[in-house]
Amino acid sequence: MAKKIIGVTRLQIPAGQAGDGPLVRRLLDRQGVNAASFCIAFDAATAAGVRGLIPVVITAYEDRSFSFVINKPANAPGHAAPHRPADAIELAQA
């Protein structure tokens, strides 16, 4: 279903450790995105592989669902995760 984009948020958070920390919750709440759902999905997507800070671009939609793309960490060229879109996570703020 085509959806209108509200905006994008760029974060760098430790792989597998989004937890449900204040930074993520604070930023995503402003966008109407369910921070806990994002954290679960991000941690699952980054649980294996590269350590360290992971750049992630989160797109927030008008219906308060979201999707995100995980980028390759800049400081891990030798063993970087592929630059791949994470599975689109579409979830209304329930």
Binding site: L11, V57, T59
Partner: protein
């Protein structure tokens, strides 16, 4: 009597934030010029206690104003494409580095002082209401007016209903939306409690958009015989089941991704989602409520969204809702009798 629950919760540490501007390239102390991502990676390795980097948000309107997209009406058909990294295209980005404590923040600020391409503007504690809310959700029992208390899952005790009707339930606040803290959840719990105290039947319950499962679980603790918890995000299904088990109601809570194809009518239907989804499912949800004696509760609404949703449901049900409010949030209660 277990007294450990009564002890004061430990306050969560307050994060500290370093606000800085970062150019597209930063020259490190050793003379090496690095890009912005690499700079953050370098800081991650050098600084202690870095929780994360907020590189900022760009709205579709801003992106259009900067010429990054043709129109602010950006429509996305599926997942976000990798090239929609609008924030990374800002020449000098305002960033926030979040640290575990003040010492870590100040040490990091000293580390980047005098680097060409990076300028620190401010070091501050994040004592926002959001953070307080997070801390309370993480550490403290939450008193919910009319309903009772929502306690963190790891505390001692069992879910129960006191003789005066006040309930105690246990929820893991880190799993799925619905910690009991948000106004929309509290409004639903209050409506559920009011229905129960009024002597109405809590037999079959539909919790549509279940999140952590808190609403369906609360209904089960109050005595519902069967709860269908519908949650589109299958990743939180184990969390709903875990929360149900913690409250001793696992055998009465059935977790699904979609509405059961056909089912007997529900005594109580609650949907704490968003206006768009509520309107989309109006006919379906109305059809599921018992026509002789049932209750339909809709939450997740801001005040200005009420007319659209109320009108749609009023047309289906032939009656107007009672509106509960808390802060900016509204909850519609349709009693069918």
């Amino acid at each position: 009597m277990d007294t450990s629950r009564e002890s004061a919760p430990s306050p969560a540490p307050v994060p500290w934030v370093v606000e800085a501007s970062v150019a597209e390239r930063v020259v490190l102390a050793n003379g090496k010029a690095v890009g912005r991502d690499e700079f953050h990676g370098w800081l991650w390795e050098q600084a202690q206690g870095l929780l994360g980097v907020n590189e900022g948000t760009m709205t579709a309107v801003d992106a259009a104003a900067r010429g990054l997209v043709a129109s602010p009406l950006v429509i996305d058909a599926a997942a976000a494409p990798a090239d929609r990294d609008w924030v990374a295209q800002i020449p000098v980005a305002a960033v926030e580095w979040w640290f575990a404590d003040e010492a870590a923040a100040r040490a990091a600020a000293a580390l980047v002082a005098n680097l060409c391409g990076c300028e620190v503007h401010r070091i501050r504690a994040d004592e926002s209401a959001d953070h307080d809310a997070t801390s309370r959700a993480a550490f403290g029992p939450i008193a919910v007016p009319e309903f009772g208390v929502v306690r963190p899952a790891w505390e001692d005790g069992v879910a129960e209903v006191a003789p005066d009707g006040r309930a105690t339930i246990f929820i893991d606040p880190g799993l799925g939306f619905g910690t009991g803290l948000h106004e929309t959840t509290q409004l639903c719990l209050a409506a559920l409690s009011a229905w129960h105290r009024g002597g109405s039947r809590l037999g079959r319950i539909l919790d549509f958009g279940s999140g952590s499962g808190i609403l369906g679980i609360a209904a089960a603790v109050l005595g519902a015989t069967r709860v269908d918890a519908v949650e589109i995000d299958h990743q939180v299904h184990p969390a709903i089941s875990a929360n149900a088990s913690r409250n001793g109601v696992a055998e009465r809570v059935v977790v699904t991704t979609d509405l059961p194809a056909e089912s007997a009518p529900y005594d109580f239907v609650v949907a704490n989602i968003v206006a768009t989804v509520l309107v989309e499912h109006a006919a379906e949800l109305c059809r599921r409520v018992r026509a002789d004696r049932g209750c339909l509760v809709l939450s997740g609404l801001l005040a200005d969204e009420v007319p659209r949703v109320a009108d749609r449901y009023a047309a289906e049900l032939g009656r107007t809702p009672l509106i509960r409010e808390r802060g900016d949030w509204r909850c519609l209660v349709f009693v069918i009798a």
